[in-house]
Amino acid sequence: MRKSLYALPVLLFLIVAGYFAVPLFSGRDPHELPSAMIDKPLPAFDLPALAGGANISNASLLGRVVVINFFASWCVPCKVEHPVLMRLATKEKLPLIGIAYKDEPAASQKELTNGGDPYLQVAIDRKGLTGLDFGVYGVPETYVVDKSGHIRKRFVGPLNAETVERELLPLLRELNRS
């Protein structure tokens, strides 16, 4: 009994060291925050469409699985993400809804005309208040929404081929089955 007590500090040290080592070696960016919106319904929004015509609202997206992508023409990481989105739109036929976050509509339009438009629809969030309701804290951010309009997943920062293959596509397959 006494002898085993000597192991206690070592044990404590290992627990603390493990506690720090796991996040350190998991390769996860500590600035990426968990979303408070997971499994909650989409926040209410009603935004003008970049293409004109009817507004895009949370209600208009109900009944299908959609991927909502916040982007801006002024956002550099979005340019990194853009080819990934283009491939998803053309090859995987991904139902991408763009929300232009705090961007001049003319600038967003120019960006999509020049670089290619991966979105089914683009909504204009001129003041970023819809972004705030989603809990966006930097563009790009991507939200996966199920058929009942609940947010199931958030990706912070640009999507890359690896996260798409490993997380996004399997989740979409699962949501489309249900």
Binding site: L12, H31, A36, K102, L132, G135, Y137
Partner: protein, 161 residues
């Protein structure tokens, strides 16, 4: 010289920290504005993550400050206005983390470690007390004389070296 020091002192006294809150953000009602400032100090800017939105110049911090003020203008209580932001960004926006199961280790961990340490030290002290050998018998005359000689010798400077 005195005037110079006094002048510098005055300048220092007049210096105020630069404020992130821009004049056009402020509410006309000073009471509401004071409440907004107080709440802002407790909310984290998610872009800089170690600054409150009251101190941060980030765009997002400004947006949150404005939304917070809108809530207060709409008649929300301090707690309601704060909850509005927490609903969107999670408890991470609170500069002081709430006491909930996920943060028990954070809040109570140090106290547990302290208790363990105090317990450990207490046990070690108790054990060393028990382990102290009984006092040896007093020196006899011969030993006394030898001790006195040794002590006397060590007083001599040459033998000290």
């Amino acid at each position: 010289m005195k005037a110079l020091i006094a002048g510098l002192g005055l300048l220092l006294a007049l210096a105020v920290p630069a404020l992130a809150v821009e004049p056009n953000e402020r509410l006309a009602d000073p009471v509401l504005e004071a409440r907004a400032r107080e709440i802002s100090k407790g909310l984290r800017c998610l872009v800089c993550q170690n600054e409150s939105i009251d101190e941060s110049n980030a765009d997002l911090a400004k947006d949150v400050r404005l939304v917070l003020r809108q809530r207060l203008l709409a008649g929300a209580s301090d707690a309601q206005a704060m909850q509005y932001i927490v609903d969107r960004y999670g408890t991470f926006v609170l500069m002081s983390p709430p006491v909930e199961p996920a943060t028990y280790v954070l809040w109570f961990g140090p106290a547990v470690v302290l208790l363990l340490a105090v317990g450990g030290v207490g046990m070690a002290v108790r054990r060393s007390r028990l382990a102290v050998a009984p006092m040896p018998p007093p020196l006899d005359a011969a030993e006394q004389a030898r001790l006195a000689k040794l002590l006397h010798d060590s007083d001599q400077p040459e033998s000290a070296a």
